[in-house]
Symmetry: C2
Subunit: 320 residues, 2 copies
């Protein structure tokens, strides 16, 4: 049997047919028609599912279930409480897709399904307890506990990005101050870099690289300049690493997992900071004689969403 894995994001929808082992057999994608609202996006998902089935010549009888990873929080039944980038609030996505496709549908947070992908085929494969972090515009997370997907008693756990870990110079979108993601996400790095560019006289390499236009600033430019030894860029990266270390040590002190995997866009600059990060994490681990949790970069990149959604459907179906 095969599974359909849907990676639903604010920018694009990716749909893949995934084998029992987690291999992508066929895939297709489209931009997300956010402006068409819930009904429009659901219809587009349906269309992409049909397309990939026709192209791959795998028909409905060979599809066991559909899994969808969403950029938001939802119940185990696929009721989406909110998905900020899609402007969704309280929509029954699971039910809707079930009606549209006639197939069983499972919905989960995108970071949780990516955690599943890494557990099945990636860097956390087969580990008893693992945490997956996705470092991009925001910071998401997924937990595997005792070889099982963990999302809490009501499906709203693993919001790693909104754990308060300090005091910051700006508030989080969620309304709180000091959220983990406001120190380490791409958004956070850019904000802090802009602050330094406004405050410091010697604006180093970055200011030239963006032609003096702050709108051109992105995380990649900052990491590239840090690689070249630029003092301002290094200051930004060092602060990010400092808080990332505090956040990871918090997770280690709480969960003591076998491994923490870091994925997402920012992680692709991982070689710049991974060594620094590991050294910094050690400082904050409570049981210092036991530096046992591995910290590694995620391996599945862009396919993690589709693989993870498909495998999430498989794991749930098997449990029923």
């Amino acid at each position: 049997m095969y599974y359909i894995g849907v990676d639903l994001g604010g920018t694009s929808i990716k749909v893949g047919i995934v084998s029992e082992k987690g291999d992508i057999i066929a895939k297709t994608s489209s931009t997300t028609p956010v402006e068409k609202g819930f009904e429009g996006v659901a219809a587009k998902i349906k269309e992409l599912i049909n397309k990939v089935m026709v192209e791959s010549k795998i028909d409905k009888e060979n599809i066991a279930a559909i899994g969808i990873g969403i950029p938001g929080a939802c119940s185990k039944e696929g009721f989406v409480y909110f998905a900020t980038n899609l402007f969704w609030k309280d929509v029954a996505l699971g039910e809707k897709l079930q009606v549209l496709t006639g197939l069983k549908v499972y919905v989960e947070n995108d970071a949780t399904v990516a955690a599943v992908a890494e557990y099945i085929k990636g860097v956390t494969k087969g580990k008893k307890n693992s945490i997956f972090l996705t470092l991009g515009t925001g910071l998401g997370g997924g937990f595997i506990i005792n070889h099982e997907i963990y999302s809490g008693s009501h499906g709203i756990g693993t919001e790693i990005g909104h754990v308060v870990i300090g005091e910051n110079f700006y508030d989080c979108n969620c309304g709180n101050n000091g959220c983990f993601e406001t120190f380490v996400s791409a958004t956070a790095i850019i904000k802090y870099c802009k602050k330094l560019l406004a405050e410091e006289k010697d604006k180093g390499l970055i200011y030239n690289r963006i032609n003096g236009n702050l709108d051109n600033l992105n995380a990649k430019i900052i990491f590239d300049c840090a690689k070249e030894g630029d003092h301002l860029a290094l200051k930004v990266v060092d602060r990010m690493v400092h808080y990332l270390a505090i956040g990871l040590a918090n997770l280690i002190n709480l969960f003591d997992p076998d491994i923490i995997a870091i994925g997402g866009g920012v992680a692709e600059a991982g070689d710049v900071f991974l060594k620094k990060l590991k050294a910094e994490v050690k400082k904050y681990i409570y049981v210092k004689c036991m530096n046992v949790t591995e910290i590694a970069l995620a391996t599945l990149k862009n396919d993690a969403g589709m693989i993870g959604s498909g495998m999430y459907a498989k794991l749930n179906l098997e449990k029923e």
Copy 2:
């Protein structure tokens, strides 16, 4: 069959015979001979076990196993990495007691065994996912996840007290700044109160209550004065509640448990702050439309350690 539950603390050792259902059949206790070191304390535990067995007329054949809750971190095999208040480092407590008694011995962190007690007989009874916090001199914690005791991949998790949640005016004993326990433990409250007494002109009720001697200050006096409306005491309690709310919301955003139970000495002043606390936690929950995790005071008080240790032994024995 019966179980022996040992509650090993820096001040006292309590030993109880616990029934299959978690009832204490007989108990005894003694001060902890910390000055006699590991061997001396182990011998004292053995002596207390013998005493309670003789007194209750329950002999070795009817004891299935021994459980010990320790104020420190240890492996699943009962190897204690450290127990600060006992001045222990790397001692094989499980093995030692097994040799001394001829019975199977299970060792766990004291907060984890108290979490087990609450899960078997207390306020978290039968809940799928729960967190137990013990608020005393420090801040400890224990997790039940998916109806099972969770202490991490290497037995060093659930160190809730050492999760960094902000910036504080003094460093934690562990060497870090901003640890959860430095904001909310009895030690933390007393430190902050002393700071206010030194800084503020109007020293309110507290200064009289302690006869101007800071050595007389304790958490109970602060809570009592807060109950009477004293402004300085209220400032201390409000700050504690603020950070306790951040720490609890962090746990909810991560774990989304059914319930969080608060035990320990400070919790006995719970009625002063529980209502305030619940209102404050709401502010920091990420999925605000879902205020679903119950927050409650633990119910087993002083017996939790013995019951929990005994039941910890039972649950482990059943799994083998």
